[in-house]
Each structure stands twice: as C-alpha cells, then as structure tokens.
C-alpha cells in the first residue's frame, strides 16, 4: 500500500537561523487524519510548507506518490491542498466564486468543470450562499470555510490545515469541526487546539524543536499529561477526553481500500 506522506530524515534551515527541522521521519497512510501538535516555533508550519514544495529541505520527502522537488511542483500543488492560518492570506480574489475557481483554473480544467467543482466545494463547506460576495464581507468563520473550499475544489489527495480553529468563536469552531468531519480526505492538521485534535484526528504527532517526540493514537498522546507539559501543551482545565464520543470511521476504511 502506498502512503500519502513519507518523510525520511527531512531537514531544513532558514537562511541565517538555527535548524527548523532536524531530521523528521513521518509516514501518513491514506485516509488518516493526523494532528501535528507542538508549541510555537516547533517547526509545524515549516514542515507543512515542505508538503507542497513551498520550501525544499534536505533528506527525502514523498507526498501523494511524488518525490518533492522542483520538477514535480505543478503536480504536487494539485495533489496537496494547503489551508493557511489567516484566511485573508488565502482569499485574494474579488469574489468568493473567483477565489474558489482560482486553483482549478490553474490546473487547466475547462470552464464547465471549474464551475461544477466550485459549486461542489462551496456546497461541502456549506457556503454556497456567499458565492458572489467579496471575501472581506464574510465573518472569520465563513472566511475559514471558504478558504477550505478553495483547496477542496482542486480535489487534492492530501488536505493540510494550519491552525484551522485560530481566532474562531465557539460557534464558528463547532461549525468548522462539523464541516471537517464530513470531508473524506487524508488530513494533516497543525494545531494548538487539543480538544479539536481529539475530536477530529485519530493520530497525533508532537513536534518539538524540529524533531518528532511523540507519535501515536490521538487519545493516548493527549492523555499523557507529563508528555504534554514537557512540550508546552495542555488540555483545557477539566477537559474530559473520555467524554468525546468518536464516530465510526467507515470513511477511512473506504479510502484505505480504494488506495490499497
């Protein structure tokens, strides 16, 4: 079975800075939802930017069956959908429709296919009603969902979300979580929002100072209070992990089967 992400000894150093990634080894299988946890400056965003070749580090990295390098960038960006932390960085076109169509048009699809994908993607995040509005008129929660639609329209095999619940009020966060739970994609979610990770992901990886320090079932990792504290992470006071009823994950089984 092929995997979606296969990183071996991945290293990266920002010019003039210390090493941001110090040898990452990570495999993500089809259908998995992985929470990438860690304090600020741990290298989460740096790692995320390697997944679609925005940064090119040393070591080996294969994503969606493609070896990451200058020659595979075009195909890579069609296969890996990255949703950035600030939706204002992601939504730059004058209307929501044009923004969601931006990726599919860059892929060279014809206009009828682009319109179909635009509507499907907006339908999936329940934002079809804002299709002709400019992004700046939307609330933060709406912008975040439209930002997700902009990459869903490219039908990527891997969805990467950077801090998806940052700056959202509880209701917008809940709506976002409901939307994410319906999306059938392999997902990597970088976040500090541990309850979100517990609800959405079955696996958690902790990154600290550019290294992976923990990797296992999400609930086991989050139940290890000492491990969390050692890496500046903590669940909200009184949060009961056992209270989160995980839904059956037939979805993942279907995707795994498809790619087996």
């Amino acid at each position: 079975m092929t995997c979606v992400v296969d990183a071996r000894e991945l290293r990266y150093r920002y010019p003039g800075h210390h090493e941001a990634l110090c040898g990452i080894d990570l495999r993500v299988e089809h259908g998995e939802r992985v929470a990438l946890l860690g304090p600020n400056g741990a290298g989460k965003t740096t790692f995320m930017m390697h997944l679609n070749g925005l940064l090119l580090g040393e070591g080996e990295l294969e994503v969606a069956g493609l070896r990451v390098g200058k020659d595979t960038l075009k195909a890579l960006r069609a296969s890996v959908g990255v949703v950035f932390q600030d939706p204002d960085d992601q939504l730059f076109m004058p209307t929501v429709r044009e923004d969601v169509a931006f990726g599919p048009l860059n892929m060279g699809l014809d206009h009828s296919e682009v319109s179909k994908r635009t509507e499907q993607a907006l339908g999936k995040v329940r934002m079809m009603h804002v299709v002709d509005r400019p992004p700046y008129q939307l609330s933060m929660g709406e912008r975040r969902r439209v930002a997700i639609a902009t990459v869903l329209a490219m039908e990527p095999s891997l969805l990467v979300l950077d801090e998806p619940s940052a700056n959202l009020d509880p209701r917008a966060r809940r709506e976002l979580l409901e939307v994410l739970e319906t999306i059938d994609r392999t997902m990597i979610v970088t976040t500090h929002d541990l309850p979100l990770a517990a609800e959405l992901c079955e696996r958690a990886v902790i990154l600290a100072a550019g290294r992976i320090v923990a990797d296992g079932p999400c609930h086991d990792v989050l139940a290890d209070t000492e491990l969390l504290m050692a890496h500046d992470l903590e669940l909200p006071a009184g949060f009961d992990l056992g209270a989160i009823r995980r839904r059956p994950r037939e979805r993942s089984a279907a995707i795994v089967h498809e790619h087996a």
Binding site: M49, N52, L54, K74, R77, A78, V80, G81, V82, F84, D86, D88, D89, Q90, F92, M93, P94, T95, R97, E98, A101, F102, G103, L105, N106, M107, H111, V114, P134, P135, Y136, Q137, S139, T150, V151, M154
Partner: protein
C-alpha cells in the same frame, strides 16, 4: 468586521437600480465611454465651454438611465472634489494677467480666474465620470474590463490586490489606532506625531510580510504568473451602440471647436 471599516469604505459598490440598462452594459463599453467624456472635457479649453455643458448633459442622461440618486452621486464626489477645487481656487491669486480684482489682503486676476473655472469644470466632469462608473459597475467587472482592454496585466493585478487588501489594511489601522488611543495617546501638535510614523512603519512591515504569505498561498494553488479568468465578457450591439452614441455626441463638438 470593525465599525471603522464599514464606515470608511461604505462609499464603494453599486448604487442606483442594479437591473438598469447602464448597469448591464459590458464594462469595456462603460470604461471607454466614460473615459472618452473625461478626455474630451480635459482637452477642451475654457472658451469652448459648451463642450463641458454637453459632457455634463451626457453624464446626467447616463445617471438618469442608471437611476442613480443625486444624493448618492454627491456623497461620492464630495470625497474627492473639495481637494481638487481647493487647488483650483488658489490659482486666481497666484496666476497674474488680465484685469485685477482687489479683495483686501489678496488680489485675484482674470487670467487665473479663467484657469480656475476650467480646472473646476474638468475636475467635476472627471470625478463624475469615475463616480458613475463605480456606481454602475462592480470593481471586479472594472478589472476584467481593463484586462480585456489590454491594460498590462501587472497593473490590473496591482489594482485588484489594492482593492482586496484595502479592507484588511483599514481594519488593521483601526486596531493599531485603537491600541494607541487606549494607552492615552492624544497628539496635540506636530511634535507628538512620532508614534504615527512608527505606526506607518509597522504597517509597511506587516503588509510586506502579508504580501509574501499571499504569494505563498497563490503558489500553493498552482499560480504560475498568469491570472486565470473565470467569466468571459460579452460585448454586444447595445455596448457598441453606447460607445457610438457617446462618441457621436461629444467628439464632433470638440473637433469643430464650438465657441459661443
């Protein structure tokens, strides 16, 4: 969205009856038609003032077709017009020639007065044209029209980004201003304007790094240097008719140089 943003940018967007014939014209027809009016007016010297009158009449007819209320027109032109008119009003006191009128401390001259009248008439016509274009055409449509008229893509792209991020920057400025005021900053004279300069520097640095993040988000969705276009424009007979009608009324008048 902050109140400040709504307040400062409420004068953008359509006005009048969105289903009017003027609103439905192809943006290229409106850009060419209204720009021709401005060019003809600006190129006409004061002694051919009937040209100004006809230009104003054409603009009035266009506004009537678009069912734009005079109040809406006034609310928009009053933002720009006073600045231009103030400059025009200074000319009679600076430019010498012709009869002199003693006004106590200052002396106005006839030659300067003529320049003042010509500048004011041209400014009014130019501002009205631009305001009417903005009231009958959405900004994205204006951008598409400019692109179709072969305006260099880089300029159109810069205009599109300025429009998109204007709202984000205004919000950011509002927040920074609120932060200054809430720490007791209340400048009484120019010497206390230092923090405003530092605020401008911070704004520059923030917008610079945002530019880089937006570019990354564009690359992540397959951007390769050319902006894809979603909705092709359609230029019909009515559009050609509009341009022909405008040009037929104003151009001959300008060419034969009708003087009263």
């Amino acid at each position: 969205m902050s109140g400040l943003c709504n307040h400062s940018l409420e004068l953008t967007g359509l006005a009048g009856a969105p289903d009017s014939r003027a609103h439905h014209l192809d943006p290229r027809a409106k850009i060419v038609g209204l720009l021709s009016i401005t060019i003809v007016a600006v190129s006409a010297p004061l002694e051919f003032w009937p040209v100004y009158a006809v230009c104003l009449a054409v603009l009035g007819a266009y506004a009537a077709v678009a069912r734009v209320r005079p109040r809406d027109v006034w609310r928009r032109v009053r933002v720009v017009l006073p600045l231009v008119l103030v400059v025009g009003a200074l000319v009679p006191f600076v430019r010498k020639g012709g009869a002199a009128y003693d006004l106590g401390l200052l002396t106005a001259h006839a030659a300067g007065l003529e320049v003042c009248l010509a500048v004011s008439a041209k400014a009014i016509i130019g501002t009205l044209s631009a305001a009417l274009l903005g009231m009958t055409t959405t900004f994205p449509a204006v951008l598409r029209g400019l692109e179709a008229l072969r305006v260099p893509r880089l300029f159109v792209l810069i205009a599109a980004f300025m429009y998109r991020y204007l709202f984000v920057i205004v919000e950011e400025m509002g927040r920074m201003r609120a932060a200054l005021v809430s720490r007791g900053y209340n400048p009484r004279n120019a010497l206390q304007a230092g923090p405003m300069g530092r605020m401008a520097t911070a704004m520059f640095l923030r917008t610079f790094s945002r530019g880089e993040r937006v570019y990354h988000a564009m690359l992540a969705r397959g951007y390769d240097g050319t902006m894809p276009q979603l909705v092709p424009l359609s230029f019909g007979r009515v559009d050609a008719g509009f341009i022909a009608a405008v040009l037929l009324v104003i151009v001959p008048l300008r060419l034969i140089e009708v003087a009263p």
